[in-house]
């Protein structure tokens, strides 16, 4: 009875829905999720392997403390916040809460994420003496 949801079905659904809020949220969740997986693998690989050699680890940490990587940390934080806040939105719907306000809730969650990222950027800049 249950048919597998194959490629045609899936792409057709996306095309039909154009880029409404829900589809946009879905794609955003997917893209940030996959980027976080890539980061996870790099993070665990690089740290666990260099950790076996003290000097390499110290050099690496010095590199990761450079301004370029600190800005990348902000990008990572933004990705995690978007994924996390949107994940909370999904769980609200799982519990049957706010389902009639799903578009509004999406933008509320994204606003919270944006505020958190701006606050983190401000904090980072203050600690690093950028302004």
């Amino acid at each position: 009875m249950v048919k597998h949801s194959g490629i045609p079905y899936y792409t057709k659904r996306i095309a039909k829905a154009s880029l409404e809020t829900g589809t946009f949220a879905h794609l955003l969740h997917r893209i940030t999720g996959l980027l976080l997986v890539v980061y996870l693998f790099l993070h665990m690989g690089v740290i666990s392997f260099t950790y076996l050699n003290g000097q390499t680890f110290d050099d690496l940490m010095a590199t990761f403390s450079s301004p370029l990587f600190l800005v990348l940390d902000l990008v990572l934080f933004a990705g995690a916040m978007i994924h996390g806040m949107n994940g909370m939105r999904i769980m609200l719907f799982d519990m049957g809460l706010f389902t009639r306000r799903q578009k509004l809730i999406f933008w509320v969650m994204m606003a919270i994420a944006a505020i958190a990222v701006l606050a983190a950027a401000y904090l980072l800049g203050t600690l690093e003496g950028w302004w």
């Binding site: 996959l34 997986v37 996870l40 665990m44 680890f57 996390g84 994940g87 769980m91």
Partner: protein, 123 residues
């Protein structure tokens, strides 16, 4: 027989769906503890010596990290599985991918916790 397989699949789907929620809540909590313990409350200098010292001080730090690896590994790889299931309808492909992700997940969890606890107990 066919009904049995469908029942098994839907039961598995439910548990994976449920564990994805559990691990997400776990991740938020453990990530917060991780950030506080390593970067905000009395943070160690990020050098091999200092980080090793912190890990050796108490089993708490390595336990938090191990929990973090556990939650994040399940959440991330089950997420990848969900994406793959959306685009690849063939049961054979799905099975191979599922097994591959399971093996990779367990291997990385074991490797990560091994590196952590080796430092806790010295060596």
């Amino acid at each position: 027989m066919r009904q049995n397989i469908e029942l098994k699949t839907s039961r598995r789907s439910f548990w994976l769906w449920f564990l994805q929620r559990v691990s997400s809540v776990g991740l938020i909590i453990v990530l917060l503890v991780h950030m506080l313990a390593w970067h905000y409350i009395n943070p160690p200098e990020l050098t091999h010596v200092e980080v090793s010292k912190r890990l050796g001080e108490s089993i708490f730090f390595a336990t938090v990290e191990a929990l973090l690896i556990g939650f994040v590994m399940f959440h991330a790889l089950n997420g990848v599985r969900n994406v793959v299931y959306d685009y690849f309808p063939k049961p054979g492909t799905r099975k191979i991918v599922s097994i591959l992700l399971l093996v990779v997940g367990i291997a990385l969890f074991v490797w990560g916790t091994f590196v952590l606890f080796r430092l806790v107990f010295g060596g």
